[in-house]
């Protein structure tokens, strides 16, 4: 009895950490939304109403955006939940990208076969969970939270990739992502353990304090930890040479999920890269910057070179996403506030242009016999200009042509590299953009300059079946929501290319969150 009493008093001494519910509210909205969605999916909806859970999920994401605006406060924020999580503008700003990506993905999947086969409720709930994981990851102030976030992000995505259980390609994508993702997670975990071993703390702020004071910069434990953590995160951000899974998984996964992974997962990976390197490991900047710079160069070159030979639009966008990750990595390399702002800015414009492109791919693969082959776009300028223009704008923006936000974003990144004494990296970004013209312009040529034979690599012997998101009954005219997503994102890309101030203000607020930076 006395033992029990002692245990009881011990238990009484344990105080649950104080939770700042206001700061947490966006995350609560997402998680609460997922419960509501799952519960709603149990109700007996009629056939025509099966999209209701997905619409509820969209409502939850809009609520999260609203709460983000409510809690928005520039400047460094105090970590909440006993120092585990920091809902500062870096977290909030990047998490808006997750919410927007989530809304776009749900809209794009409303009519897809995934929703029918997997059930709208389960599908939407997995998406919301993944978003919650991303928010946790972006806000992680602690190595444990960081790992928790990355797992919460990844596990639903493994399922989402393989959610079309009757499609071999989808299953293959899910399995591949599971295996590669687990290797990445394990590497990351190893790295985090080494970091803990070197600095005796899991708190990013304490790690930052320890580096350079109690722990010398040349400490082998620290260096191994940094290297392994960077490698693990490089898997998630599809940074070369850890990108090999990207094209296969992107191609096999249902296209809306691919779009989500291309923009949201990348944004989450960069958010944590920024926080880990610019806050926790900032003292060791001289150690990791050259290594990350080398990774950035590799990524830019390999990504662009890989994209040139692709016929499949999804694979092409996957490779181009690898290259774009290389550009953004340059913003991390410099380790300045300007670099942080430029990366956040580029993540936002990257979201818009990629979602526009994926929306067009989805619209076409549902009606075209060629699936996501580049030929499915042939003559699109004539047959449906409302799809061709968003795609045109997306391609021009990805290539960094003026009057699109892609130009401003690239400008910002190059500006950051020159300011951070990495001018040569700026030149590498430019060289990468030149290589990228080859494949982006080809898409434009197919759409607008047909009917002419474009010189492309030969079609592979086995016809790739149009696997993902393909529903033959859906007609091009009968998918207004896809058109809506494409047009809105493309319009935003142009508007932000001419009037970028609003996005600059946001990027500036995001940049103000880390006090360690100059």
């Amino acid at each position: 009895v006395s033992l029990l009493a002692a245990a009881g008093s011990e238990l009484g001494k344990f105080h649950a950490p104080h939770v700042d519910w206001k700061a947490m509210s966006p995350l609560v909205a997402v998680l609460g939304g997922s419960v509501v969605v799952l519960a709603a999916a149990l109700l007996p909806w009629r056939r025509r109403q099966r999209a209701v859970p997905a619409l509820l999920a969209i409502v939850a994401l809009f609520a999260a955006i609203g709460l983000t605006i409510w809690t928005w406060e520039p400047g460094p924020a105090k970590p909440i939940v006993a120092g585990a999580l920091s809902m500062d503008t870096l977290t909030l700003g990047i998490s808006v990208l997750f919410y927007v990506a989530g809304i776009a993905t749900l809209l794009l999947s409303l009519r897809s076969a995934v929703m029918r086969e997997a059930g709208a409720g389960e599908y939407s709930m997995l998406l919301l969970w993944s978003i919650a994981g991303m928010v946790l990851l972006a806000g992680a102030e602690n190595l444990v939270t960081l790992f928790l976030g990355i797992e919460l992000l990844s596990v639903p995505l493994y399922i989402l990739c393989g959610i079309r259980v009757r499609e071999e390609a989808s299953l293959e994508a899910g399995l591949k992502y599971l295996v590669v993702g687990s290797v990445g997670s394990a590497t990351l975990l190893f790295g985090l353990a080494f970091l803990y071993g070197a600095t005796a703390s899991t708190d990013l702020s304490r790690i930052a304090d320890a580096i350079g004071t109690t722990v010398p910069l040349s400490d082998p434990l620290l260096l191994t930890g940094i290297a392994l953590a960077a490698t693990g995160l490089a898997f998630k951000a599809s940074v070369a040479p850890f990108h090999q899974w990207t094209p296969d998984v992107y191609q096999g996964a249902p296209t809306p999920v691919t779009a989500f992974m291309a923009v949201a997962t990348k944004a989450a990976a960069f958010a944590v890269l920024l926080r880990l390197f610019d806050e926790g490991l900032f003292g060791a900047h001289d150690d990791w910057a050259p290594a990350l710079a080398a990774l950035a160069v590799t990524t830019i070159v390999i990504g662009n070179a890989g994209a040139i030979a692709q016929r499949s639009l999804k694979r092409m966008l996957a490779w181009s996403g690898v290259a774009q990750a290389g550009y953004m990595l340059a913003g991390v390399v410099v380790g300045t506030r300007l670099g942080l702002q430029a990366t956040a800015f580029y993540l936002a414009v990257y979201l818009l242009m990629n979602v526009a492109a994926f929306a067009v791919v989805i619209a076409r693969e549902r009606v075209s016999e060629r699936g996501d082959d580049i030929e499915s776009l042939e003559g699109l300028g004539r047959s449906s200009p409302w799809l061709a223009w968003p795609m045109t704008i997306a391609m021009l923006a990805l290539a960094g042509i003026p009057a699109t936000s892609g130009f401003i974003g690239k400008f910002y990144l190059i500006d950051a590299t020159v300011n951070g004494d990495y001018a040569w990296l700026g030149v590498v970004i430019v060289v990468g953009s030149m290589m990228s013209l080859v494949y982006y312009l080809r898409v434009l040529a197919v759409m607008w300059m047909g009917p002419t034979r474009i010189e492309l690599p030969a079609r592979p012997g086995r016809r790739v079946r149009p696997v993902a998101g393909w529903s033959p009954e859906a007609d091009a005219r009968a998918q207004p929501e896809v058109l809506f997503v494409a047009v809105v994102c493309a319009a935003a890309t142009v508007v932000l290319g001419i009037v970028p101030q609003p996005l600059f203000h946001l990027a500036h607020d995001v940049g103000s969150s880390l006090s360690s930076l100059l």
Partner: protein, 525 residues
Amino acid sequence: MPLSVPIFAPLAAGLVSALLPRRWARWVVLGAAVFVLGFAIGSMADYPTSGFRLTHVTDTKWIPELGIRYTLGVDGLNLFLIALTAVVWVAALLAAALRDWERPRLFFFHMALAETAVLGAFCAQDLILFVFFFDLMLIPFYFLIGGWGGRRRVAATTKLVIYTLVGSLLMLAGAIALGVLATPDGAHVSFSLADLAQRGVGKGTQEWIFLLFAAAFLVKAPAFPLHGWMPDGYRAAPIEVLIPFSAVLSKVGMYGFLRIVLPIMPDASQHFQELMIAIAVVSILYGSVLAFTQDDARLVVGYSSVAQLGFILLGIFALDLQGKGAEGALLQMVNHGLVVAPLFLIIAALAARTRSGSELLSRMGGMATRAPVLAALFLIVAFATLAMPGSANFTGELLILFGAFSTKIAFGLVATAGVVLAAVYMIRVYQRSMHNRAGPEVESRDLTRGELIPLGALVAVIVALGLYPNFITQRSEDTTQLSTYRPALVACSGIESKDFGRAHFPIGGDIRCGKGYALYLRETP
């Protein structure tokens, strides 16, 4: 009137016409181009005959976070190029409006966007704004050549765009580096051309940035080793698209040298002077020789442009203290634009008079027999092209050679051969098409009204300018001297530009060369 109005009028017209019925699109866009022309004539009339004041200035914040301003202005350097743009676009749009196009609204939208971008590039007084328009102007031409061009158009347009955008992207990197590296500690980044010229960067930095800019501008020209896109691009483009492309776009790069490179990077300009002059001279000889051997009439004009732009480049990098070479280069830019546009219209007219629509000289001949008006107009244009005394081209080439002789006499002598070669290839084209025995496919008939109006208007401008080239040289000489004096002073005194300090240079006044004079300038407030 704010300068933004004429710059964006074509684009606005292009957007509006997308909402209008098909057959109206062309007239709306043409109306906007005529409006721009009216504006250009008005500002030429207003412009003072001496001095280098920037007029029609618009200066507002655009992207303050990056130090980019929306600064536009007109002075003696760009005034006549704006006018050239306006004239050429009206002629090209008129020619285009008189024939049928597939998807006309889209075609005229791209033409309008291109005019806006070119005008923007000429008017920009902020480096990044210039780069913005410089890159943008290529995109409509990508679609115009790829969408409405002839055989192998996709390959040609892709090659063209990749060649030129590669240059432009290099320039973008150079521009950012220039702005950031020129910023003194504690000051805000500025890309304003005036600020950059004031701040300056070190000689070593200038040199690598100079190469990035030169790549962009020389590809656009095209100059000798970078002209690979030209033959395919010229063959594939529709004539109405080729007219503004060849007459105006090639000038933007040369203008960039005068506006940006010489004033901001004087030491590098002097350092690479001989390299640039060598490129110019090789372009003159190579272009002239190839123009002489071509059978395709378009390529004769194309290679002759390579040669003519070689002359312009020679004038810019003559770097004489009086700025005569640059003055001649500016005049020659306008002249070349004015002769290339009617030459292409004539080629289109000639092709319409062969049964197969061929543009090969070997299929032509004897066209003059029943077409006196065509023959007469062609003769005027041909004489202007080969710089016959009495044409403005004569004045332009004379000024260029004057500049070259006063600094680099050996190169000047070689370049003189180019003047002779121009006579050879132009007379050959004229003889092969208009005289000789009539080819079996040729139907000689005179110009239709639709062909005559744009062609006659352009020839009238050529003749007027031939009578009074002073109209341009008088208004531009102070500005060209202003943009060349720093590198010219570096070239003749041998001291670096940063040692000049903020010396006030007596533009238009008595100028001497030598180290002592440069130092005297530094001491004089």
